[in-house]
């Protein structure tokens, strides 16, 4: 006996699952995130490190800062350019990047990241 019907149904289910990304995205217009800088950030030109580093590794930097500040009490950071920064999400980072929705969330939502920064820190109030 062949059970051809069952095999084909099985194949369709299997292929369907594996091809689901194609089916799911079909007809949807997706657009890459475009995080925006506030005028203040633009003016500053440089962050605590270069853009490439910040794009790929800001979460590591923030995680390290947190540990250093909370556990070791080390409050100051010296950038590669020799500039010293006060390690604080709210005081330092959010001072320039005060536009959480347009800056942080833009990529975080796209990548499905839910950083737990805001479990302790207060998100900045944004004016539209």
């Amino acid at each position: 006996m062949y059970d051809g019907g069952k095999i084909i149904v099985g194949l369709i289910i299997g292929l369907g699952l594996l091809l689901s990304p194609f089916l799911y995205n079909a007809g949807k217009a997706t657009k890459a995130p475009e995080p925006q800088l506030t005028p203040k950030a633009k003016e500053a030109k440089v962050c605590v490190a270069n853009t490439n580093f910040m794009t790929t590794k800001h979460m590591q930097l923030l995680d390290r800062w947190r540990d250093e500040v909370v556990r070791e009490g080390k409050r100051y950071y010296k950038s590669p350019e020799g500039k010293v920064y006060y390690k604080s999400l709210q005081v330092t980072c959010l001072r320039c990047h005060s536009n959480k929705t347009k800056f942080c969330d833009e990529c975080h939502n796209y990548m499905g990241v839910e950083p737990f920064c805001w479990e302790c820190h207060i998100a900045p109030k944004e004016k539209e």
Partner: protein, 360 residues
Amino acid sequence: MNFIISILFSGIVVSVLVLIPWVGVAAFDLRFLFGVVVPYLAMAVFFIGMVARVIGWGRSPVPFRIPTTAGQQFSLPWIKYSKIESPKGNGGVIIRMLFEVLLFRSLFRNTRLEYRRLANGPKLDYEWEKWLWLAALMFHYSFLVIFLRHFRFFMEPIPGFVHILEKLDGFLQLGVLPVSGLNVPSVFLTDMLLMLALTYLFLRRIYIPQTRYISLPADYFPLFLILALGLTGILMRYFIRVDITAVKTLALGLFTFKPTVPEGIGVIFFIHLFLISMLIAYFPFSKLVHMAGVFLSPTRNLANNSRMKRHINPWDYPVKVHTYEEYEEEFRELMIQAGLPVEKQPEKVEEQSEETGEKE
């Protein structure tokens, strides 16, 4: 070919597979080739190959109903029968298959032979051995979860199940301690489990003399390939980070048939992508087809009801048999003398027949 040659050969092949995109992207900047062309080709090979493989199996019929019965058959009403291990109908078969596919039921039975020679003779024991089952389960489920977690790159908007998986997988919120400074907020358990399981499966293969003896390069190669795949993934997540929004843009481009290769994605991503491409392209031609094959196994997916329900053999053909008439023709007189009934009385009973009877 001994196991060292097999391991070396597989190891070299995987190393070359790592070098190809490395050189191709870093030295020759062939980003479109490795970011778009190769993945598409690999997917095409995978899907066409797998469909062809399954249809190929399907074209061969199952002429006989041959389940391996692993429990009491259904017989008398007062005898408790094993509904899953010796199913009498489709319901039981489905549950049996689910146990097999989702929980590796048969592998769970595994034992280990302990052979000793004592003063009064040999002593055989069958020891507890669930490590293979555990490692296999760990490997397959980790791989599945990791694959599904990757759907955050494949789909926009990201479906809910991906978030749930990520939460569960990263619930320990571990850093990669003690390498301080390189940590991310949460380490995924499956990343570690996958590597652990793969390492165990490899070591087991060379440590146990029997598996070492039966192993082919085709057994080491997928292990090494997936190890390399996992390693590049782990490097990318925890150490050599790349711009993942750009990666997602590339992935979405592939899955919407609008391929693009954004600027600034690190080489390691192309190595990772090339390795997964090789893995899926290799799939239909290798032992990895067990993923589909397990569903078609006639010793598992048939009910133990052969005496209740007739199974049809599509290529059945008439065969030459020795009929009763031919049999009686040869032995008629002997049968009559022995007082056995016959269909046809002989025309004349001959006295000599006794002799022929004594000959045998």
